[in-house]
Every structure is written in C-alpha cells, then in structure tokens.
C-alpha cells in the first residue's frame, strides 16, 4: 500500500524537532560548564589570599595575564553557545504551547448530522431528509461570504451522506467502527516535522549535498580532531614532542640551571610565542641579559654559554625570557614583558612533567633540582645553587639582601639567610640591619607582615607504623605518619602553644569499627601562595618522599599534600590570616622491603611554592622478623556447633568436635590482643571469667 508523507505545511510540528536537536547539544554543554571546578587546576576557591600592599613593577601586566587566564577559564564561547541553545529551546516550547494545533478531526457522524448521540434511527432518517433539502449541491448556492466554492459544497454534502451511511448502512457502519472512517481502511500516513520545501523538486540535490557534507566531511573532521588531539598529549597533558625533548635533556647530575634548559625545549612555548613573535625582540632581549648586573649574578656562565650556543631562535627566545623572568630583569618593552610573564605558568607545568620523568629514573638529585626550580619559578628567584630566600619578601632587592647578609653573616655558614632565620633575629637588630641596608622602616613592616603569614611547616614527629599492628613486618603495608604544625616565621615563641602528647599519637580505629575506618579525614586548604610575580593563583603543595642517601636514589616516591585534616590558618579579621597551631597529620603508605632489619632513610619535605621552607631529616624504619606478627585468632569466628542442634548431630556423626558445655568458651581475639600487653602484670584469672562453671551440666544453658 502506498504511504503518505505529510510534511509540515502548516509549520506546527517543527518546534518539536528543533527542540530535540538543540537539547541534545545544549544539555551536555551546560553540564560541562557547571562541572568546571574539578577540571581546572587553579586554587580552591575556599583558600584565602595573603594580602599585602606591595605591588611589583609591571603589576599591571601581571594582572592583565591573570585576568586573561580567568577569562579563558570562564570559557566564554561555551557559555555563549549554551545560553543561545537554552534561548532557542525556550522559544520552541513557547511556540508549541501557543500554536493552535489543528486537531486531527475525529470523524464524528453524529456531529455532522447534528443529532444527539442517543438519537433513534427514525430521528436520524428525518434529520437526513431535512438536511438533504438544504444542503444538497443542486439546491445550494455557494455563498462567497463564507468562502464556499462549488467544491466545498460538494464536499460537505459527501460528508453528510457518509455520516448517514455510517449510522445506517451495515458495511459503512462496520468500517466506521473498525477504522474510524467510513471509507474503509486508509493507508498509513506519516507526519514529518520538516518544511515541505525539502522534498520540493529542485531542492533535492541541495539536501543531498548538505547531508553528504555532514556525514562525509564534518563528522570525520570532528572525530579526527578529537583523536589526534588526544594522541598528541601524554598523560600529564604535555605534548608528545615536548616530552621527547625533555627526556633527551635528562642527565644524572642536574642543577636547576640545567632543568631550565631542559624545560625551554618544550613545544608549548613556541605556540605561545606564535609565529612572527617567535623571534622578535630577541636581539634586545639578549643584549639586556648580557648587560644587566642582576642577570650577571643570577645566571651561571655555563648556562649563558648554553644559551649562546642554541641555534633555534624560538627556543633561544624562550630560554632568554625564562632567565629574564627568574632574575626579575626589567625589559623595557611592554610586549616582551607581557610575553615574559605569560611563559611562567607554562614553565611550571612543564617542570611538573619533568619531575615525573626524573622520578622514573629514581635519582634524587635531578628530582630535587626540579622541585627547587618550581619554587624559583613561582617566586621569580634565580635558581642558583644557593638561592636567596629573602627575595620572596616584598621590597627586598638583591643589593639590600647582600648588605643584610653581610652584616648578619654567621661564620662557617655557606647558606644564605632564610626568612625564618631573618625573622628569628631580635626586632631591634632586624630594624637596624634593614635600615642600614637601605630598607625604610615602613617597607620592613610590610615585609614582616607578609612573613608572619607564610605557611612554614615544622615537623614535630615522623614515624612508621602498620595500621593495627605493633611491629612492622617485611612486605607489609607501612604507613609513614608525619605530625607537623604550621608556624610562620617570626612567631614569638611565647605564642606557640605546647604540643600535647595525644596529638602526636596516631590512633587507629578499632578492628570492627567499619564506620570509623571508612570515615574520610577533613580537608582544609592552606592560604594561596604569596607570589606577586606569578600571574596565577597557586596553592602551595608539600611533597614528601624518602631517599636512600648512600645510593642517591629515591626509596619511596613523593606523596603530595595540598589540603590538611585540620584548619591551619584562619581569618584574623584584618584581612590576613593567622595560624591556629593545630597539629596536622600527613600520611603516606607504601610497601615495606622484604627483609628484616634497620633501614635508614633521608626524609625530604619540599614545599613547592616557597624557597627555603624545606625540611630534611633522617628517619629510621625498624622491620621486625615475620614471626613477631600478631597471630589472628581465627578459631573463634565460628564456634563449634552445639550438641543439641542438628549441626551438632551431624558433626557427631562425622566425628567432629562439638561444643562442650564444660570447656571454657574461647575468648575473643580483641581481648586476647589486649591480654598480650597486659598479661605481663595481670594474673591469668581474667581469662577465666568467660569460663562456664564447671559444675554446671545443664545443657540448656547454652544458647540455641
């Protein structure tokens, strides 16, 4: 049978179609927009800022970079598309609601003849006769006022006849009952919610072309773009070419300068300094690098030599800009300055990828150099072997620091003065030394204000343990627990509360206490890093790893901590933060070596956003022999079946033991564990408490 396709000539069905397609696109888009926070690597919005009145030079450029990044993260284009999609959907819904739909008329013979539903046959007949007098085409003139033509008059008369027939004539009535229409079985008709013009004569080929383009060109292009985009990146979201380049630059002995050189090989930088910008300004840049004093001191000769020997102009410019950024060199050119600040966050990202590469090799020195470079990049401090931590404080310049160190130099110490040590000097001495070096007192106050809010982690106790056990057994899952406090530099000793012993002990939840074991520790963030030269918000991270000093290799790979289980800093009401001195716990798990003995490790705790806040400590792990493991009492899980029960009968048949009311009930494993510790000084009468009375022979005393 032929099928009829009714196209949407009345333009009433297309809203449904458009609504469906638009919602298919808009709803996932909106979902990805709303899901944004977990995607972006920026700092937790809950974390506070460390305020200060200090503005570095070119603060406007840095702020411009920051807002550019924020705008990119806002993903304006996506939001716009999603908003448009929702608008279209709303309009469609409105249309659907408003359009008076032409009802598919249910053919109702009673209405046509204008008789009531319960009319008798005689009434129908008489009605028909009366109508035929007026409505028959021969007797009717088309009335132009009602828009009637001869055709419509004929049609109406046909309807009346059909109606009469449907109610009287047997065959027609059967048709009507079965198919709802007196003409018999109609062919199926389809309604298509698209405009008629799509199937009109000439437009067929355009439609074909459109579909062809969609399926043959747009779809493959989209899929290809997605697939090759994924293939281009490694797991750390770094381009493959970059990973290859950085891999080739790895050496056994690397200092941070070498790491800078390795990072500069990243292809992402050439994308940032696009095309024509790739080597514009290179000449002036290099001249300035050569000429300036601060660069003299910041860049080692060997690094300079490496820069000069580079052939590739884009890479040369990248490296030169990185060194300029690290030595806080003032390039007197807005465009260059903007580029310089634009490179820094990418450099940190590349460095993170490089750290994972170094970890794969397992040698400690490159990993440490890479972490130190991250610190230097965030704070814009030259990454020489002995860095100047005081440069992190506002208003401190190289010359001022040199003066200060000169005055306060402790003989025998090769290291530069760290913030902690500087703030540990008595205030009058600090004041005197700073003023002598050229720092005005109010600037010193600003610097001290910032220093007092920096999160310096002080390790109170670090130890190994196995959850639930007294000794560490070979190949067990060991937890390395660090108990630490955040004590900012310059906090007077009197305001630091003493530590209570109970804070230093890590209590495991009891064996059967599933709720306590499943409980997730709270996570509180630390204030964002104070880095006025870094054009992004950065959460400081702490990396803890264990190294083997003798071999120079890493024994336990780093664990990273961004949030802690207690609130370390709280709002002090004046816009800044003040420490709470709560003891935070850092835990990492790894597998113990398979031999027993004493193992010495060098623990490194590195804060990756501040220079000079690292801790190095020796920790010893004692692994006892496997025999010392606590034996789990496994024969009280299921007690022997009672004599009187069916199970007991079956056991007796098999010859297996059944519960004897005269034997003592076996004590539970927990009690036994405690009993071990207490058994030294307690008599054995404790265990007898559970024993059934030996004189009680009544079998009913056992529970069934």
């Amino acid at each position: 049978m032929s099928s009829e396709y009714n196209y949407d000539t009345d333009a009433q069905f297309f809203p449904f179609f458009v609504l469906t397609i638009t919602s298919l696109v808009t709803i996932p888009l909106t979902y990805t927009l709303l899901r944004a926070p977990s995607d972006t690597p920026t700092a937790n919005s809950k974390a506070a800022h460390i305020p200060s009145s200090y503005q570095p030079e070119h603060a406007d450029i840095i702020d411009a970079q920051r807002s550019k990044q924020k705008r990119k993260e806002l993903r304006l284009k996506r939001m716009l598309t999603a908003a448009t999609g929702w608008l279209v959907m709303a309009y469609m819904i409105y249309l659907m609601y408003v359009t008076a739909r032409s009802q598919p008329k249910i053919w109702n013979p009673y209405d046509i003849l204008d008789v009531s539903l319960s009319a008798s046959e005689k009434q129908i007949n008489s009605r028909y006769r009366r109508l035929s007098v007026t409505m028959h085409p021969d007797k009717r003139q088309p009335n132009p006022a009602l828009n009637e033509t001869m055709e419509t008059v004929n049609d109406q008369w046909v309807e009346i006849v059909k109606a009469y027939k449907a109610l009287t004539d047997e065959d027609v009535r059967n048709n009507y009952i079965q198919y709802g229409n007196p003409d018999g079985k109609q062919s199926t008709s389809f309604g298509i919610a698209l405009p008629q013009l799509l199937v009109a004569e000439g437009s067929g080929k355009y439609v074909l072309v459109f579909y062809g383009a969609l399926l043959g060109i747009a779809l493959p292009w989209l899929v290809g773009k997605w697939w090759y985009g994924m293939q281009k990146m490694t797991r750390e979201r770094v381009l493959m070419t970059t990973a290859g380049n950085m891999f080739k630059e790895w050496k056994e002995r690397m200092d941070p300068g070498d790491v800078v050189f390795a990072i500069s090989s990243a292809t992402e930088f050439t994308e940032i300094l696009q095309g024509a910008r790739a080597d514009s300004g290179l000449g002036t840049l290099e001249n300035q690098l050569q000429a300036s004093d601060s660069a003299e001191m910041s860049i080692l000769p060997k690094d300079k030599k490496k820069l000069e020997e580079l052939d590739d102009a884009a890479r040369r410019k990248t490296l030169a800009l990185l060194w300029a950024y690290l030595s806080r060199l003032d390039l007197n050119d807005k465009a260059l300055e903007a580029e310089k600040y634009e490179l820094a966050p990418t450099a940190v990202q590349m460095n993170d990828a490089f750290v994972s590469m170094c970890l794969a090799y397992g040698l400690t020195a490159p990993v440490l150099s890479a972490y130190h470079l991250t610190q230097s990049l965030v704070q814009a401090i030259p990454p020489m072997h002995n860095r100047l931590p005081l440069m992190q404080l506002p208003h401190f310049t190289l010359s001022i620091i040199q003066e200060i160190e000169h005055k306060t130099a402790v003989s025998g110490k090769k290291e530069h003065l760290s913030i902690q040590n500087f703030m540990a000097l008595p205030p009058e001495q600090r004041q005197a030394v700073a003023t002598a070096a050229g720092l005005t007192p109010d600037r010193l106050v600003v610097a001290e204000g910032v220093a007092r809010q920096l999160p310096l982690m002080k390790i109170e106790k670090a130890f190994f343990k196995v959850q639930g056990e007294k000794y560490i057994i070979p190949s067990s899952l060991v937890q390395f627990v660090i108990k630490a406090r955040f004590i900012p530099p310059g906090t007077p000793a009197s305001s630091i509360p003493p530590i209570e012993d109970k804070d230093l002990v890590d209590v495991d939840p009891a064996e059967g206490d599933l709720a306590a074991q499943k409980q997730e520790p709270e996570s509180h963030p630390v204030p964002l890093a104070y880095a006025p030269y870094y054009p992004r918000d950065r959460s400081p991270r702490w990396h803890v790893f264990l190294a083997d000093n003798r071999q120079g290799k890493i024994a336990v790979p780093p664990f990273t901590f961004i949030q802690f289980d207690k609130k370390a800093f709280e709002d002090d009401g004046k816009g800044g933060v003040k420490p709470t001195f709560a003891v935070v716990t850092l835990k990492m798990q790894f597998q113990a070596p398979p031999q027993a003995g004493e193992f010495k490790f060098q623990m490194h705790v590195i804060c990756d956003s501040y220079v000079g806040f690292d801790t190095k400590q020796e920790v010893i792990m004692n692994i006892e022999d496997a025999s010392k493991a606590q034996t789990v009492d496994d024969d009280d899980d299921i007690s022997e079946p009672e004599e009187d029960s069916i199970a007991g009968q079956m056991a007796t048949l098999r010859g297996q033991p059944t519960a004897d009311p005269n034997k003592p009930r076996r004590p539970r494993a927990e009690k036994r564990a405690q009993g071990d510790e207490e058994s030294d000084y307690e008599s054995g009468t404790d265990e007898d408490e559970d024993e059934e009375s030996e004189t009680d022979t009544d079998t009913d005393s056992d529970d069934e």
Binding site: E308, E309, D312, V410, G412, K413, K414, N549, R550
Partner: protein
C-alpha cells in the same frame, strides 16, 4: 637539531698536522675534543692504528703513573712538599689524559689515590681549602672504602671552622664506611665526628 637543512661549517684543516681549526668560536670546544682524539689515535703504535681492547691494559702509562706517584711519596716523606706537589699534579694530569678507550674504572682508582695523596700534601702545608677540594674529588671518585678521603676533608673543614658542613660530611662518611670494607678503621672517623659535634655546639 634540524635534520633537513645542511649548513656547511667554516672549517679549515692544516695539511701537515691534519688539525682542524675554525673561525667560528662556538665550535671551539667540539673541535678541540676532535683534535685531541685525532692525536691520540695517530699516536697509537698498534697495527693499523686501531685502539687496543681495554682488558689487557697497556702497561706503559700505568707504570709511568705509578713511578710518579712513588717519587711523590718519597718527596713527601723527605718533607720537600713543593716537589711532592708537582709530582702528584703531573701524575694526575697523566692519568686524566688517558685515551677514552682504556678502562675507566682503572682511571678512577688511580685518580682517587692520587688526589688523596695531594690532599695530604696540602694539609701538611696547612692549605686547608685546597686540601678540602682534593679530598672531595677523591671521595666523589670512590665513595666506599675511602676512609682517608672522608677523614681528610672532614679535618680540613674543621680546621677552616666550617662546623656544620664538617658534621654533615663526616656523618655521611660514617654512613658509607660503616657498611664498607674498612670497618675497622671507622674508629678514627667516629672520633673526628665527636670532635666536630662538640665544635658545632661551641658556636
């Protein structure tokens, strides 16, 4: 490196000695290495000027180095320290100029011992910084079983008043040597360690 473009470098070769030189200063390091290698290969007396395998070591050089070392020792015993210094320096130079195809483990051993001796000479002259440097090199070449090296640098640092560094250094040395082959001699190092700790507390 761009593998698709060929850029000819400005090199000239001297017809007599066949040494390469260039007008481009950035290439000088590579060219020097090349020339040195060339000279070494040319100076070989093996047939066809092919470098010998590393296993049976050509005794000529080792003998010479040992001779120099012995004369240095003799001079030191006679307390003619400048002469001893010169002899040791010469020996070091000879050992470091070994061709790269000879066993490198041998080089490390020789150099470690030589630097140790030279450090001793410096200490006798009370030249602590030089002594510290030489001892450090010696230890870097040979970490375990080099008690004297650890001890010497620790001593020099102590004499220079760098207590913190000395303590760290001697501590590391103890860690390495305690498990090493010379366990018996650790007592001296430990004594030094105690001294240094006391010194740190003193400052």
């Amino acid at each position: 490196m761009d593998l698709e473009t060929y850029s000819p470098l400005p090199l000239t070769i001297d017809p007599a000695t066949k040494a390469i030189s260039s007008s481009d200063p950035t290439l000088s390091a590579d060219i020097d290495d090349l020339n040195k290698l060339h000279r070494l290969v040319v100076g070989l007396d093996t047939p066809n000027q092919v470098p010998a395998p590393p296993a049976p070591v050509n005794p000529k050089r080792s003998v010479q180095i040992t001779k120099l070392r012995e004369s240095g020792n003799a001079a030191y015993k006679k307390s003619s320290l400048p002469e001893a210094l010169n002899l040791y320096t010469l020996a070091i130079r000879m050992a470091s100029e070994r061709p790269p195809w000879e066993a490198s483990g041998l080089v490390r051993e020789e150099l470690s011992a030589l630097y140790n001796n030279r450090a001793q000479v410096h200490m006798a002259q009370q030249a602590w910084p030089e002594g510290a440097c030489d001892a450090e090199i010696s230890v870097e070449l040979k970490r375990v079983g080099n008690l004297k090296g650890w001890w010497r640098r620790g001593m020099c640092l102590k004499e220079m008043g760098r207590w913190e560094e000395a303590r760290e250094w001697v501590g590391t040395g103890l860690e390495f040597e305690r498990a090493g082959p010379e366990k018996q001699g650790v007592g001296e190092l430990e004594a030094l360690f105690r001294e240094v700790c006391k010194g740190v507390e003193g400052t």
